[in-house]
């Protein structure tokens, strides 16, 4: 029983990260209908920014609340800028071109970032993994029995942040002018432009927001799994994308639910079956979900009007 509870906690913790990264995927997909393959790599860059700030702060400052906030802030702003640049120079010129071309530039950006960061030419970090500083000093938040089940403070913090962000995003998308503009652009950006919506600005802002989210997710990820390296974005990005699709890509709560579900499914496969089939089951789960609900759990397939 206790290990069931522990698996549940692990699954939620892993799912939280998937969910956070998936949120960024979903937002960008929402407005651009683009699978932003570079999203995971933007996340990676964010963690390295956070890492650099933490190094600058030194041991005594990085674990304070202000230190942690500064790390988050710098990483998020840095990634927002990076996201802006990527959108401006790699995606915007291709907006009215076939969607696949933007996908290819996304892949190009992804390669450039991940392999570029593997170079050991300063200031690039090189291929070796780095230990991410403990900017949240790990403390047991809840201990059951003789350490049979442990919940850590950072797990609680991550989950709260993920849910908080989801609610904020949901509010942003459905309650604000910006959100309305976003939805309009998502529906049809040409018509939106005719209605006086500054489409370029909305897309750029969405992109920056998504990238900042990725950076935040990246830092939380680094806090959870303590090591960062240039290829980390590839793997997490792929899983997060799967999570976003399970939830129904383009759908904010769907991304969170998809992320948590994927985390839990993976966790319980490992816990009660064989860990070697984990990835197969993750993708199998995805396929089954799509076969039952072709638009993902929360998405709806818009029937084509004939």
């Amino acid at each position: 029983m206790s290990d069931f509870a522990q698996h549940l906690i692990n699954g939620v913790a892993a799912g939280t990260i998937y969910a956070l990264v998936a949120l960024g995927y979903t937002m960008v997909y929402g407005v651009l209908k683009l699978i932003n393959f570079a999203h995971g790599d933007v996340m990676m860059v964010g963690t390295f920014m956070g890492y650099a700030v933490a190094q600058k702060l030194g041991d005594e400052h990085q674990s304070t609340l202000w230190g942690a906030l500064l790390i988050f802030l710098v990483a998020m702003v840095g990634c927002a800028v990076l996201g802006f640049l990527i959108e401006r120079f790699a995606y915007r010129p291709l907006r009215d071109k076939p969607r696949l071309t933007a996908l290819i530039t996304a892949i190009g950006i992804s390669f450039t970032l991940s392999y570029g960061f593997q170079l050991d030419i300063p200031p690039l970090p090189g291929a070796a993994p780095r230990a991410f500083p403990e900017i949240i000093i790990p403390k047991e938040w809840l201990i059951v029995g003789d350490r049979a089940v442990v919940i850590w403070n950072w797990q609680v913090i991550s989950l709260s942040i993920a849910i908080g962000l989801m609610l904020m995003l949901q509010g942003l998308v459905y309650r604000t002018r910006f959100g309305r503009a976003m939805r309009a652009v998502s529906f049809d950006h040409r018509t939106a432009a005719l209605m006086g919506i500054p489409v370029d600005r909305i897309i750029a802002l969405t992109f920056m927001l998504g990238s900042a989210l990725a950076a935040g997710a990246g830092i939380l990820y680094a806090i959870k799994d303590t090591a960062i390296q240039p290829l980390m974005g590839l793997y997490v990005g792929l899983k997060a994308f799967v999570a976003a699709v399970i939830g129904g890509i383009g759908n904010v709560p769907g991304a969170v639910v998809g992320g948590l579900l994927l985390g839990l499914v993976e966790e319980f496969v490992v816990g009660y079956s064989s860990s070697s089939w984990r990835d197969a089951v993750a993708f199998g789960f995805l396929i089954v979900v799509l076969l039952v609900r072709p638009g993902g759990l929360f998405g709806s397939v818009t029937a084509e009007k004939v």
Partner: protein, 343 residues
């Protein structure tokens, strides 16, 4: 020329030309290796183009089909390694077995293509894409878990029976098939599906059937490519068939121009040789300056440079090198100009 011969003439010409090339090139093993890897990528790109370019379905799991073919053919070859067909010289017997394993690999992959093609009846666009991707990953995990496929180490010691001739004859076949499909009712039906599925269906095109068949043909050739690959590397392991490989093939197709067979060929050749060309370039640069040590450092830079080049190429030519045209379509007779994306 009698009509019945018209279909066979290109095959005869190709056999003759390739046989001569084979004799000449035997002296340059590195060139042959490079040509083989280029050939495999051309087969992958041209076959994927049948699904992604012509039919407008978006598959990014081609490496999975390639893996199925590679493992099937590789495993069969290993099993048959010490067996020779009675009454034939060893060389001939080896080649017969090689062709047999290639076919088996292709058929196994085609079977998988059929299975993956089925969900395409229900799914569209990005959703189909992720399912094909998932399929590729599942294949990899299965291989990693099975002892008979050598798990992480993969299969090794596969006889190196592949040759320049074998690879490029398969290239020729896949191109021939792609071209002849385009020029037939079937090709037009595939284009129609890409353009408008509902209308195609209303005009009597069995869209589901065609989509599945496109998948089957495409994955058959991916399997053959995998089989060839297994016979000249000659090590295969799961690391060679990750989704990054699938992506590379998609990049070739898009770069060449969706739907353009010759575009896919040129893009595949270009993208395969690019890293090697960069290597040569950097070696030359290194030779000028700080000696070979710079070249060593610089070999690492190839991958990021490759990524940058992708971005730049797409920005310069978003419709791909040839759009949907073929090289010889000087006049914009068939679908030139910008395309609408996948839907």
């Amino acid at each position: 020329m009698p009509a019945w011969l018209r279909g066979l003439v290109p095959v005869l010409i190709a056999i003759a030309v390739l046989a001569v090339l084979q004799l000449v090139l035997g002296e340059f093993p590195f060139f042959v290796y490079l040509a083989s890897i280029v050939g495999v990528n051309v087969i992958l790109a041209v076959s994927l183009n049948i699904v992604n370019g012509m039919t407008g379905q978006f598959s990014i799991g081609h490496a999975g089909f390639m893996a199925v073919g590679a493992y099937t053919a590789g495993k069969l070859s290993l099993l048959l390694k010490d067996v020779a067909i009675a009454g034939l010289p060893t060389m001939v017997s080896d080649q017969v077995q090689f062709v047999g394993t290639l076919l088996a690999g292709g058929v196994a992959a085609a079977l998988c293509g059929f299975i993956v093609g089925l969900p395409s009846l229900r799914l569209r666009g990005d959703y189909l894409a992720i399912v094909t991707l998932g399929f590729g990953e599942i294949i990899r995990v299965i291989v990693q878990n099975l002892d008979m496929f050598g798990r992480a180490l993969g299969l090794s010691g596969i006889p190196q029976t592949s040759s320049f001739f074998a690879v490029w004859f398969c290239v020729f076949l896949v191109v021939l098939v792609a071209r002849r499909i385009v020029g037939s009712t079937h090709g037009r039906s595939l284009w129609a599906i890409r353009e408008d599925e509902v209308a195609a269906e209303a005009m009597g095109v069995n869209t589901t059937g065609y989509k599945v068949r496109a998948f089957v043909i495409s994955s058959f050739f991916a399997g053959v490519a995998g089989g060839l690959f297994a016979h000249f590397v000659p090590i295969i392991n799961p690391g060679s068939f990750t989704f990054v490989k699938s992506i590379e093939v998609v990049v070739m197709v898009v770069l060449g121009g969706l739907g353009s067979t010759t575009g896919a060929i040129v893009a595949a050749i270009f993208l395969t040789l690019l890293p090697e060309a960069l290597r040569t370039l950097f070696l030359q640069l290194g030779g000028l300056g700080a000696g070979a040590s710079l070249a060593q450092k610089v070999d690492q830079i190839r991958m990021p440079v490759y990524g940058m080049l992708l971005v730049i190429l797409m920005l310069v030519r978003p419709q791909g090198l040839f759009g949907t045209r073929e090289v010889w379509d000087v006049l914009p007779r068939w679908w030139p100009g910008a395309r609408k994306g996948i839907t």
